[in-house]
Amino acid sequence: MSDEYENKSSYQAQSSETISGTGSGVSPDIDYVRPAENPEQDLYHAHSFIEKWVFCQDAKVIGVQYFLTAVFTGVVGLILSWLMRLQLGFPGLAGFITAEHYYQFVTMHGMIMVVYFLTALFLGGFGNYLIPLMVGARDMVFPYVNMLSFWMFFVAVAVLMASFFVPGGPTGAGWTLYPPQTILEGTPGHGWGILLMLISLSLFVIGFTMGGLNYMITILQARTRGMTLMRMPLTVWGIFTATVLAMLAFPALLVSSIMMTLDKLLGTSFFMPTILKAGEVLEYGGGSPILFQHLFWFFGHPEVYIVALPAFGIVSDLISVHARKNIFGYRMMVWAIVGIGALSFFVWAHHMYVSGMNPWFGFFFASTTLIIAVPTAMKVYNWILTLWRGNIRINTVMLWCLGFIVTFVNGGITGIFLGNVSVDVPLSDTYFVVAHFHMVMGIAPLMVIMGAIYHWFPLVAGKMLDEKLGKWHFWTTFLGAYSIYFPMHYLGFIGVPRRYYEMYDSPYMTSGVGLNEFISTAAFIVGAAQLILVFNIVKTMKTGKKAEKNPWKANSLEWFTSTVPPEHGNFGERLPVVHRWPYDYNVPGAEEDYLPQTAAPSEVAHTEVEKT
């Protein structure tokens, strides 16, 4: 303890020295960085195994906990998708998949993948691990709340998984949970299943709010000296904006969950109109099913960007590092992230063009939706312009990034079909929609997640993943996933509706049978191919090459920790001081092809750009 306080006082002295240096007017000090406004506070250090690995307050451990829990739910979601594809590709082959089961698989797969897998993985996993490291903080600002956040998420997952084992099984209402069918007989799991789903979602939102406050405040308040907002890596910008969106969007999910729970348990009628069921009028009346849809999509659309924005940010950083070139149009990239985030609150009803809401809404929401295409397109241009005239390492990380660009552009273009109100009419509720959103918010973010795993694994585990296995993993996943979802759009053109347990011998389906078999086969292969990653990790941990410090020659702060993997407190005795943005690659005049954010201008005085 005493040691640390000593360190801090010397560090204070250092800052004041810098100030006096400039103040005295001896020479304008180009290395000057504003002093810290507040002295550092000591972190709470773990005293026992449980405090260190279970109820841990270190954001990095919490990040890994989030990551592993999310991956567990993702594996459950993957298995459910296999079962669905088994039924769709080869109807009747697996006799145990009844229509009831099928709809339960559909629902749980959707909810798990969107909320419990992607959201938790990007914000809880990467957010926790990377935010403090990238902004130069020792930890999140509220480590204890951060720990609670993970355990709340853990309970939410436990409740969700419990719904597989209750009478009636999990809810089969579709992941959108549209009332009235959600809580009525005729939908599987309308008793216990839906209740547990609503409780689990509520817990998730509560837990996520704790985490989200941490991410936001850490980014706003705990950046190290010199780390201005416009010097933050785009990963941090993406996660930050996504967190702000989550803070504004998740309350809509929470209130709709609570209201629906009341409709279910107490017989209120928030979303329930007068209903005739099996010849009897139910004791509901006056509620609006469309109100639920508005609330749900007010959450649901920003949710898409809660997943997409961190992916945008991460992929920008990965491309820049491995193309050995600064990200093109950084300021445009930042404003695009913020702009997309803001616009995402004005487009929600494009999910509802044919929902029966007032059709005049269509004009407004089609316009806002297509406007969002502009900043999104700018991001795509800037990614490929970053590659242009770069010095591109075609390694596994870069392959995932390239795979992301292809799948994201593909899914973005089909989004223009669906956003353009009258084009949506024939396509909505068909497989075109299923193909679109899997491509754009399933496969594309997954490409980024995989790239990020290969990129940051050396930091987290201290060892380099095997490149050869990585490339096999990439090509099977990318080519497989692309051949699942690209042809699937064409089923939608035929008019095959989604959420159909079986098509029978519908005239639309006769030509699609072979296609469905192909898609299912590809789905089995892609799912199984993920074992390559598991094998790679196991092999690397046993016999893998030890990672040197900063193996990718990157600039951002997470690679400049005192140890690899970073210990509690991240940066050793002194926090780093930042002098530049994280994209100074191949700066003319510099000896190396990269200048870390910590490189002071006086150290690189001969370069063309001393300070950015």
């Binding site: 089969g172 099913p289 004009f363 005239r389 390239l402 191949n586």
Partner: protein, 291 residues
């Protein structure tokens, strides 16, 4: 190098797949050709952007692969280029949005001469009601629905008496005559969708929703429920037969009116029809059993 080639083949494969796909639209049988045209336009513009972006990416992979000692360009921004790209994208997006909105405007404005068809949906089936000689549908109420009054028509509404009732999943429509579909649901969300007509809208309990189209090809079409409505969703099918005016009028004259139904009820030998019916095979399969 290999990477560039494979990515190139993926792009090429996508284009070839689109050109030679055997899986495409069903033949259109309504007036909404404009929707198909806008989709085609979006394919050209969007597909062009997709191919251009991906080919540029492939070019970069070939041209700028890592070489020891090569200097990448250092150019953080290019205001002019960014401006050009922003405006070009905005223009492209506007060019796609405009026809989309024009057609939507047609979609929400129903022609005056459209025939109103009341489509009533429940778990899991359809039935239909057409206006009688007065050309107007009578008002309805969910709570009125019972075995004697399957459509829940308000008995004291004079417009309802001559309404034509089609208690079947199948309905006939007149060729080249615009139809305004009025959707009602007595329980959960449904959606009356015929792929060949291109159009659809959800039926929402508690409100009446609508859309319109003009069938323009004689033939039989399958009706699908396009909004998830519970475990029988996939089996909630029906049919439409589009007929020439002559055939249609013949069919129409054979249908029962609400007045006929009331008269029949007064006769003691009338056997009540079960109104809340379910698709039989679902009941038989007994797949829905809970608690």
């Amino acid at each position: 190098m290999h990477a560039g080639i494979i990515f190139f083949l993926v792009i090429l494969g996508s284009v070839l797949f689109h050109i030679f796909t055997p899986w495409y639209w069903t033949d259109i049988a309504s007036n909404w050709q404009g929707m198909d045209d806008t989709i085609t336009l979006t394919f050209w513009v969007g597909g062009g952007v997709f191919v251009a972006v991906c080919l540029f990416m492939v070019y970069c992979v070939f041209r700028y692969s890592y070489k020891e000692g090569r200097k990448a360009e250092y150019k953080p921004e290019d205001k002019k280029l960014e401006k050009i790209l922003t405006w070009a994208t905005t223009l492209g997006v506007a060019a796609l949005l405009a026809p989309g909105l024009i057609i939507w405007n047609q979609y929400v404005n129903v022609p005056k001469n459209a025939l109103e068809v009341d489509v009533m949906a429940w778990q899991w089936g359809w039935q239909y009601r057409l206006p009688g000689e007065d050309g107007k549908l009578g008002t309805t109420k969910v709570t009125n629905i019972n075995d004697e009054n399957p459509f829940g028509i308000n008995v004291d509404d004079p417009f309802g008496r001559d309404d034509i009732l089609v208690q079947s999943d199948y309905i006939n429509l007149e060729n080249n005559k615009p139809v305004k579909i009025l959707l009602r649901s007595v329980d959960v969300l449904h959606n009356w969708y015929v792929p060949q007509f291109r159009s659809k809208m959800d039926a929402v309990p508690g409100i009446v929703t609508f859309y319109w189209f003009e069938p323009n090809k004689v033939g039989e079409y399958e009706v699908l429920c396009a909004e998830y409505c519970g475990v029988g969703h996939y089996a909630m099918r029906g049919g439409v037969e589009v007929q020439s005016t002559e055939d249609y009028n013949k069919w129409l004259s054979e249908q029962e009116t609400f007045q006929d139904l009331i008269a029949k009820l007064e006769k003691p030998e009338f056997e009540n029809k079960k109104i809340v019916k379910n698709n039989n095979f679902i009941l038989n399969k007994d797949i829905y059993k809970e608690e």
